[in-house]
Every structure is written in structure tokens, then in C-alpha cells.
């Protein structure tokens, strides 16, 4: 039986977090991160994941005030977490658009050293001039170039990690040789980067940290098949999960990779109850708390591109047409993949078919895929998803911080362990070990051996 890979995400700037829950704590205090990470480690999870934000969202020209907002810098927090965990992988999103390879390669390598081989980097792109306003370099990148830059960025980082060959860091006091001559020397001449010199940080225990990619577009899937070790997907039903899984795994062969080289793990949440009815009731409460009337209207305005403040969130969808090309919400990509017109048509169709109000519709279309049921039902559903090749595992984003993972670890994980589909103890020290990935390829050794 396939083993289920488990990851946990501390949910950040978004309305999926139930911050109004009495047990909800700080999204910033280090204690929150430490508690959630330790819980994940207690559940023998593969890794803990933090996403990134480089600009606060704005709605109608003002800072958006309804969602959880504000987060620390991911790599800094993960470095601190490396001191309070021993086996848990530590994954950070780092944008390839508003960073440079030399800096990112040394920071990710640093996390790999500090954690003893537990670092992962989720490579994301941005096309966004809005985010660019926070950077010296501004919004310099055409949307079409974001994947070419990301791919070259990652390749350049790998060249930097490989610029130290095994054994180059010697620290041999008797011989008086600290490094081998030429260690760290690199030259990269490409379309996006033209750099050369000496790389300052020898590679960490994993050689290359684990590379994660998120996104479901054809470009995203191709990038993942070529370059990633893990891909975050987003499929809530078995059929679409299987189709996406087959598609992505089939793309690996042309890059000389096998299906086991890339783990597909959808981002999900969960709600438990002692009975199916209690679980369903709790799930409904969570959804109501996630999408309040103000949030429902705000997201409707974002999609429509116009002010809808006169509308009743518990009433029908606006009859007025959306305004083409008008942007009232910045930093949100809710309807980006489909485009505005298609999104609005799609929403109207669902609402009409099922007689939904604005708030009910928004709740429906923004919900993260969620396992709802008794612990046994959830364990079985997770296992079915993995055994039928709709996924290799899951990244769980709990609804409440920092205690939201407790129930999963205390009530569902033991069942998975009994079923023999999740480890009872860590068997390796590095994240590559947990994920069953091969050691990182080293370009030089391939050339010279």
C-alpha cells in the first residue's frame, strides 16, 4: 500500500482562517508557529509549510481589513523552528520574481544546514506590478516571462549549490587547507541572469533542498514535471484528482524522470465530528465564520469590478453586469485562472441552479477542499484518495491557529498508522528521506564520473 505523505501549513493571510473562534491565537507570535510545527512533528508529518506575501491586499483603494493579515518572513521563522523541531521538514515559499538567485540560494542552503537537511523551497512567480511597488526593481516582468524567469532562477540556484563539489569544504587543520582551490566558482549566462563569481555557502546536507511547485496551469504542470520534487495541487474530488495526477505524472518521462520522483499533494482542510451529522454541522459553522456578510460582498465586488455595497449578502446575485478590466481588489487572484467574464458566468450558473444567495455562493466557490466526517471516515477518505492515485498525500491547512491540527494528529493519524499507511516513527533524518526522494542530482559528479 502507498504511504500517505502529510504536510501542514500555517494558514495565513486569507478568509479561510476562523480568527473569530475563541481558541484562535496569534498569526505572528513565534509560539503559534512552534506549537503548530510541534504538533505536525508529533504526527510524524513530512513537513511544515509557510506561504509568502509581499504586499497587503487592497480593496477599493484601501488596505483590506476583513481577512487575517500580517505575517513574518517565512525563511526566518523556519530557521527559528529548526531549533525546536528535530525531524520535520521546513518549507518556505520564496518568490522568483522579486528576488535574485544568489541571495535565495544561500538562504535556502543556510536553512538546510541549520535544520540538518530539512529545507524545502516552494518556487512561485509573480506578474504583479502592484507587488512590485514594494521593490526597488518595481513591476519589471511581463507576465509571459514569469515562468521562464522562474525556471532559469531555479537552474541558476542549482548551479550555485553545485559550485561546491563534494569534499570542497575540507577544514583540514593539519594540512592547512580549508577549502579546495576554486570551490564555489560559477558562471551563468542566460536570458534573465548573467552572473559569475564565488558562491559563499557550501551546499547543505540535502545537496539540493526539496523543490516544491504550486499551480495547476499547463505551464505550471510542465514546470513541476521538469523541475519539482513536490507539487501542491487543488482537487477536491477523486475523478478530477486522478485525471490531474495522471496528466502530471505522464509529463515526467520526457525529462528522464520516473513517477516516484514527483509527489503530488493537494492542499486541503478537515472538520471532524463524533458522528457524521455533528461533523456536517461543524463544517457549516466553520463556513459561516469564514465567509461573513462583509467578506461575501467584498469578493463579489472583486469579481464584478464595481461597488456593490447596496446589495444584500443574503440576497440574490447582482443583476448589473461586471465592469470589464476594472480592478477593485488588488493582490487577490480568486478569479484569475478563469478570467472575469467566465468566472461571473460560472458563478451565476451555480447560483441559479441551486438557488444560492451571494454569501452561500461565495462560501461554495471559495472553500478549500475539506474532509468532513468522523475520524474513521476522514482516514478512509484520505486513504482512498491516495490508494486510487488521486494524490500522494495532503498538505493540511487548519481553520484555527495554532491548535487546529490537534484533532487531526490525535484522532486521525493513529488510524492511518493502524492501517499501515503512515509512519509510526521517522525512519530518516532529511526531508528527502521522508518523501522517499532520491538524493539530489549533482551536475558536476554526473559530468566527471
Amino acid at each position: 500500500m502507498k504511504q500517505i505523505h502529510l504536510a501542514a501549513q500555517l494558514p495565513s493571510v486569507q478568509h479561510t482562517v476562523v480568527w473569530s473562534d475563541p481558541s484562535s491565537g496569534s498569526q505572528i507570535a513565534f509560539d503559534s508557529f512552534a506549537r503548530l510545527a510541534r504538533t505536525a512533528e508529533r504526527g510524524k508529518f513530512d513537513f511544515f509549510f509557510l506561504s509568502e506575501g509581499l504586499r497587503l491586499r487592497e480593496h477599493k483603494g484601501r488596505v483590506h481589513d476583513l481577512d487575517v493579515a500580517g505575517r513574518p518572513e517565512a525563511l526566518t521563522v523556519l530557521s527559528a523552528l529548526s531549533a525546536v523541531t528535530t525531524h520535520l521538514g521546513l518549507a518556505a515559499t520564496v518568490n522568483s520574481t522579486f528576488n535574485e538567485p544568489y541571495d535565495v540560494a544561500r538562504r535556502v542552503a543556510t536553512l538546510d544546514h541549520l535544520s540538518g537537511g530539512r529545507a524545502a523551497w516552494n518556487v512561485v512567480t509573480s506578474y504583479d506590478a502592484f507587488t512590485g511597488e514594494n521593490f526597488r526593481r518595481g513591476g519589471f516582468l511581463d507576465e509571459a516571462d514569469r515562468y521562464t524567469r522562474a525556471a532559469e532562477f531555479l537552474h541558476t540556484a542549482r548551479e550555485l549549490w553545485d559550485s561546491w563539489r563534494p569534499g570542497d569544504f575540507r577544514a583540514d587543520a593539519a594540512a592547512g587547507e580549508f577549502i579546495r582551490a576554486g570551490a564555489g566558482r560559477f558562471t551563468h549566462r542566460g536570458r534573465h541572469f548573467d552572473i559569475s563569481g564565488r558562491f559563499s555557502t557550501p551546499p547543505g546536507p540535502q545537496g539540493h533542498p526539496v523543490i516544491i511547485q504550486a499551480g495547476d496551469s499547463p505551464e505550471g504542470r510542465e514546470f513541476a514535471a521538469a523541475d519539482a520534487d513536490v507539487v501542491f495541487s487543488r482537487h477536491s474530488d477523486l475523478a478530477s484528482g486522478r485525471a490531474a495526477y495522471r496528466d502530471v505524472k505522464a509529463r515526467l518521462a520526457k525529462y528522464g524522470r520516473s513517477p516516484a520522483d514527483l509527489k503530488i499533494i493537494p492542499s486541503v482542510s478537515y472538520v471532524l465530528g463524533d458522528t457524521p451529522a455533528e461533523a456536517a454541522e461543524r463544517a457549516e459553522e466553520v463556513a459561516r465564520a469564514q465567509v461573513g456578510p462583509e467578506t461575501a460582498l467584498m469578493l463579489m465586488e472583486a469579481a464584478w469590478g464595481r461597488d456593490l455595497s447596496g446589495h444584500d449578502p443574503d440576497g440574490p446575485l447582482p443583476e448589473v453586469d461586471p465592469v470589464p478590466d476594472s480592478v477593485v481588489t488588488k493582490g487577490h487572484n480568486l478569479y484569475r485562472s478563469r478570467g472575469r467574464d467566465e468566472t461571473v458566468r460560472h458563478w451565476r450558473r451555480i447560483a441559479e441552479e441551486r438557488g444560492l444567495s451571494i454569501r452561500e455562493l461565495i462560501t461554495e466557490v471559495t472553500a478549500r477542499p475539506t474532509f468532513v466526517g468522523t475520524p474513521r471516515q476522514v482516514a478512509d477518505a484520505m486513504n482512498e484518495f491516495v490508494q486510487s492515485d488521486a494524490a500522494d498525500g495532503f498538505v493540511f491547512s487548519p481553520n484555527v491557529v495554532p491548535g487546529g491540527l490537534d484533532e487531526l494528529v490525535d484522532r486521525v493519524v493513529p488510524l492511518l498508522q493502524e492501517m499501515g499507511v503512515h509512519r509510526a516513527e521517522y525512519t530518516g533524518g532529511t526531508l528527502r528521506d521522508h518523501l522517499g526522494l532520491r538524493p539530489a542530482r549533482h551536475h558536476h559528479s554526473e559530468e566527471t564520473l
Binding site: S20, L66, E73, G184
Partner: protein, 406 residues
């Protein structure tokens, strides 16, 4: 007697280039968390105010302005901000001050990194911004070139500073932007008002709209205001232009006097820069003198040790800071003598690690305590608290309360 403040500057296996060949050195450990945790917990046992971590965006070099091809000195290191963060949960009181480059990095990333270190350490973060003029460092980024210093420039710190005036001007802007981003969230911006569905009071989250000569940044920060409000900014300054950077933007300045008389001269020059800076006279800036130290209890032994290391390395080690060899008692005499001219404290650069660090914590500190010149217990949990620096009011809150008082 005014107590003095003590910091240590950690780098590799110590500041002597042959330090890694000492029998008690752990050169293979410099890329591990354990190595640094041992050093920092030792510094905390000695009740020191803070430790600093050196960094650069290039491999270490023994020439000031150029890379070299040496293989017989410590090479390779970790990112200092992340290293400091990994040490935060392992310590309780000591300040953690990483060095970062400000010439090739994004001020926004620096602001949220240091703010996050302050959150993770519950108020013990500092930041040492540093420029680089090395053409080799610029080639690692490929986006710009910087003036390559000549051997002639390097002989005179005023000459260097003049050549790098433009980069220092840009550094002023980086420090200013980082400070504004730290203030871009007021302390009580997070309101969690379930009755109105509002998580934030958006009137307390501000765009910074910084437009400078070198770049612009819109803000606000993505990271809420850190526990200290403003983490402690420390600048190493050898001459006029860097004095101006420190005078305008720092809470702590590291100076490098070669003697007591030189300390008087340098502090005077710094005071002039401060007066020209237009910074409010009430803003306290702590002045630390940097000293490289080789310490042994037995008289003459430290000097002998340094001589032996010099021979091993094949040249006489000198530094931008004065180099002290002697006993902890002799060092205590010197520190108290120099302190009297207006220094608040010292940043000691151990010649070898761990030897000269444990000589500071186990020898110098007890000696200073006997003379009632150093604390016997930590009296504060934040770095600002240890340094006697107030927590700054948020500039927007200040503006709002001034408005209300009118």
C-alpha cells in the same frame, strides 16, 4: 559608576586568520547550528548585551576590496539573519545582531526579515546594515556595477569613504525605508472585531510612499510592527561618511579607536556628524569601540599565542580595530580607561574561538563585576532594554496624538 556594555563579534573560528588551526577550534562546525548555539549560549552565560554575526554577499577574502584565491583561511558561511533566528529559541536574554548587505538586497526583504527575527526572539533583534563596493559582489547579482576601489584608496579610510559616498547615500535610504516599514503598522492595528468582521483597523496600517534618489517603496510592511517597535540598528563606522550614516540612522555605532586619545578624536568627529544630521538631540546613540582581543590569565601568554598564530599564517595579523593581547585584568583596566572618554561599551572580536570568548565570559566579566562595572544579572528581556534605549513611539501614532492634542 556607570556600567559598561559588552558585545562580542562572532565570525568563523575567530578573527585571527589562523584561528581555525588551533587545537580547540571546531572549523568543520561553522556550518552547523550546534557550533553557533554553543558560542551564543556561552556569551549569554557571560551576561553580554549582544552578539553580532558577520556576513557578506561573497566568499570571504583576505583583501579588503578584492576576492582572493586563498585556500588556507576560513571560507564559506551561513546567512546571518537566518543563523540569528535559529539561535533565538535557544536563548532568553542576549541580543542577536546579524549583518546584512544593503547594496544588492531589497529593503522590503530586509525589513520583514529583521522584524521577523524580533518577533521570534521576543524583542532581541538588532540589525547591522553594511554596504559593499566589491565589483565581485555586484557580479553575483548582475544588475549593477559598483566602484572598484584601488589599492591606493584602501590605504586611507577617508579616501574609501569619499569614493563610496554614493553607496552610503543609498544606504541612508535603505535604513530609512526599513524603519518606516517597521512603523507602517501601528502597535494596535490588529483589532479582531468580530462584530464588524474587521481583522484590522486599516487607519492604523500605513503606506510609506517612500520616494528617494535611488528607489521608491510603497509599503505597508507585510509583517506587523516588531516587539521592540524598532529593532536596534548598529553601524560600523571608520570615517566621516559612515559616521553620517550612523548619526542619521543608527541606535548603536561601532568605532575603531587605536588608542584612548584616538577614541576622543573619533567620538568628537562622530558628535559633529550627529549635530549636522539634524537628528533630535534626545535620541540616544550608544557608542561602542571595537577591539580584537587575545586573552590569557598568565601575563605574556596571549601575546605569545598571537605570535605563534602569526607565524603559522605567515604574516602579522592586524585589523581595522585595535588588537589587544593580555590578561583579562589588563583588558578591564583598558576598557575602563577608554570608557571614561565617553564610550558606552565595547564590541570585542575574539581572536580565536572558543578560547577568547570563554576568556571574556569567564575572566573579563567576573573582573568587571568585581569592579562593579558590569551587570551581575540580566535586567531586561529586550535588546533595547539592555542598552537602556527606550521603545520608540510609532511615528504615525505620534502624529495622530499630536493632531488630537491640538
Amino acid at each position: 559608576m556607570t556600567q559598561l556594555h559588552l558585545a562580542v563579534a562572532l565570525d568563523g573560528t575567530g578573527w585571527h586568520p589562523a584561528s581555525w588551526r588551533e587545537p580547540d577550534a571546531r572549523p568543520a562546525g561553522i556550518l552547523t547550528a550546534r557550533y553557533w548555539a554553543d558560542l551564543v549560549t556561552e556569551a549569554e552565560r557571560g551576561l553580554l548585551d549582544f552578539v553580532t554575526f558577520e556576513d557578506a554577499l561573497g566568499l570571504q577574502t583576505s583583501a579588503f576590496h578584492l576576492p582572493d584565491d586563498r585556500t588556507d583561511h576560513v571560507r564559506g558561511r551561513l546567512d546571518a539573519v537566518l543563523l540569528a533566528a535559529a539561535l533565538a529559541p535557544l536563548t532568553r536574554h542576549i541580543g542577536l545582531v546579524p549583518t546584512t548587505n544593503v547594496t544588492h538586497t531589497e529593503p522590503f526583504h530586509l525589513a520583514i526579515g529583521i522584524a521577523s527575527l524580533d518577533h521570534a526572539s521576543l524583542g532581541r533583534a538588532g540589525w547591522r546594515p553594511q554596504i559593499t563596493s566589491r565589483a565581485a559582489d555586484a557580479a553575483h547579482f548582475g544588475r549593477r556595477t559598483t566602484p572598484q576601489l584601488t589599492d591606493e584608496d584602501v590605504r586611507d579610510s577617508e579616501l574609501i569613504a569619499a569614493r563610496l559616498r554614493e553607496l552610503f547615500g543609498e544606504a541612508h535610504e535603505v535604513v530609512e525605508v526599513v524603519r518606516r516599514l517597521w512603523d507602517s503598522w501601528e502597535d494596535d492595528a490588529e483589532i479582531r472585531d468580530a462584530s464588524t468582521g474587521r481583522y484590522l483597523d486599516r487607519d492604523k496600517v500605513h503606506h510609506i510612499d517612500f520616494v528617494g534618489a535611488h528607489f521608491s517603496v510603497r509599503g505597508p510592511s507585510i509583517t506587523p510592527r516588531p516587539p521592540q517597535g524598532q529593532p536596534v540598528v548598529a553601524v560600523l563606522a571608520h570615517a566621516g561618511t559612515p559616521y553620517e550614516l550612523a548619526a542619521a540612522g543608527a541606535d548603536v555605532v561601532f568605532v575603531t579607536p587605536q588608542s584612548r586619545a584616538d577614541a576622543v578624536t573619533r567620538l568628537g568627529a562622530f558628535e559633529q556628524a550627529r549635530q549636522r544630521s539634524g537628528r533630535p538631540a534626545g535620541d540616544r546613540i550608544r557608542a561602542f569601540a571595537d577591539l580584537v582581543v587575545f586573552l590569557d590569565d598568565e601575563p605574556g601568554r596571549a601575546a605569545g599565542r598571537k605570535r605563534r598564530l602569526d607565524e603559522l599564517d605567515g604574516s602579522t595579523f592586524g585589523s581595522d580595530a585595535a588588537v589587544f593581547t593580555g590578561t583579562p585584568g589588563e583588558l578591564a583596566d583598558l576598557l575602563l580607561e577608554w570608557q571614561a572618554v565617553g564610550l558606552d561599551g565595547f564590541r570585542l572580536r575574539p581572536g580565536t574561538l572558543p578560547h577568547d570568548l570563554t576568556a571574556v565570559t569567564g575572566g573579563l566579566v567576573p573582573e568587571l563585576q568585581r569592579r562593579a562595572a558590569f551587570r551581575t544579572a540580566y535586567e531586561a528581556d529586550t535588546l533595547r532594554g539592555l542598552l537602556g534605549l527606550p521603545r520608540p513611539a510609532n511615528r504615525h501614532a505620534r502624529a495622530a496624538s499630536a493632531e488630537a492634542g491640538r
